[in-house]
Symmetry: C2
Subunit: 187 residues, 2 copies
DNA sequence: CTAAGATAGTCCCACTTGCAACTATCTAAA
DNA sequence: TTTAGATAGTTGCAAGTGGGACTATCTTAG
């Protein structure tokens, strides 16, 4: 008898009826929604699955979680010291999450930080040689994985997909983030 | 002086250098990875953003969280009683999460459940009239939202996008889930 | 019939993450 | 200069979530 308290007090249909009791009713008048055709749901599921596929690379092999990987990816790509806030803006990750990721990366000596003379509130983050080495190892693996995942699409389709993602991102104002962040950076 | 303990013990570059200290090094030899062109990252970010856009509908207006919404969506679409396990399989959500969602929905009398005579371990879930009414209100809103989000794409592009998502899902074995769940259901 | 293993569902625990408060610092305006 | 408000970063706290243990039930093999 699971959940004795709440379930007992809820309305119970008389038992004996195995099939759903909706048959008497007319078929739904309103539109129904097929989850499997619903793009938001599909995106969620797909993103989760793709993340899981990549996690085996950076998580199992290198002990990085997603926020940590995002910090490295940002530092590695920009190839220039930038602030934690900048990483947060770029990756759309909460600053507290980035803060914890940076702490972990510093403890592993993969990242170091330098006080910014111009603004002593912030720190310039950059990879250590060790972090750099890890990055150099990791990137090809991830790119290969990405290609594996997309290999079910033709080159043309891959391009189209990227373009369509871009359009949606733009219409959702997801793209400006990087530009804004760059603007705010003001080196 | 934040993080007195760990940060002090970490290597610190001599201050005074405002620009990144990587300039001396040769530009990276290995491939770099642009997060903004990296599909897994883009999917993650996009999914999060789209979810947030929809959350304003079912969360703020109807007090539903994502797992609860998924339960309703599954029940509403199949228009037939089904088990919590089935919902979990379909939506690729952990069964404990579905269990909690069902409990919450039952407390709000949006969903009820009937013992299955054939298999007394499981319960047949179905929406109450109240849940049905909410569903009927919610669906058009969500479909409208989806259309708004996709409105930056032409009809042709929307179709193509759906097809490409389908291909990727298939190659990741995300699609079989519904079929398998149907098979397991065995009404 | 019995025993071993599978399955549905619930719940405890640990982990992650976002929120919000807090400190330190910077900026702008009086 | 002083003060009010913004910003960078850290941390405590609470909510959500998955893993796994657990119970009850079913199934299958002996």
């Amino acid at each position: 008898m699971p959940k004795a308290s709440s379930s007992e007090s809820l309305p119970r249909t008389r038992s004996g009826v195995a099939v759903g009791p909706r048959e008497q009713n007319a078929p739904k008048k309103g539109r129904r929604l097929d989850l499997f055709r619903f793009v938001p749901f599909r995106l969620n599921r797909l993103a989760a699955e793709v993340s899981a596929a990549l996690a085996s690379e950076y998580q199992e092999r290198y002990g990085l979680d997603i926020p940590e990987w995002r910090v490295l990816a940002t530092l590695g790509f920009r190839n220039e010291a930038c602030s934690a806030q900048y990483v947060a803006d770029c990756t759309r990750t909460h600053k507290s999450t980035i803060s914890r990721a940076v702490t972990a990366l510093m403890e592993r000596h993969l990242v170091e930080r330098v006080e910014n003379e111009k603004d002593r509130r912030e720190f310039r983050l950059r990879m250590t040689r060790k972090g750099d080495a890890l990055y150099e190892q990791l990137i090809p693996r991830l790119l290969r994985r990405e290609q594996e995942i997309l290999s079910c699409l033709s080159a043309r389709e891959q391009k189209d997909l990227a373009a369509m993602l871009g359009k949606i991102e733009q219409s959702l104002d997801l793209v400006q983030t990087s530009r804004e962040a760059d603007a705010k950076q003001a080196y």
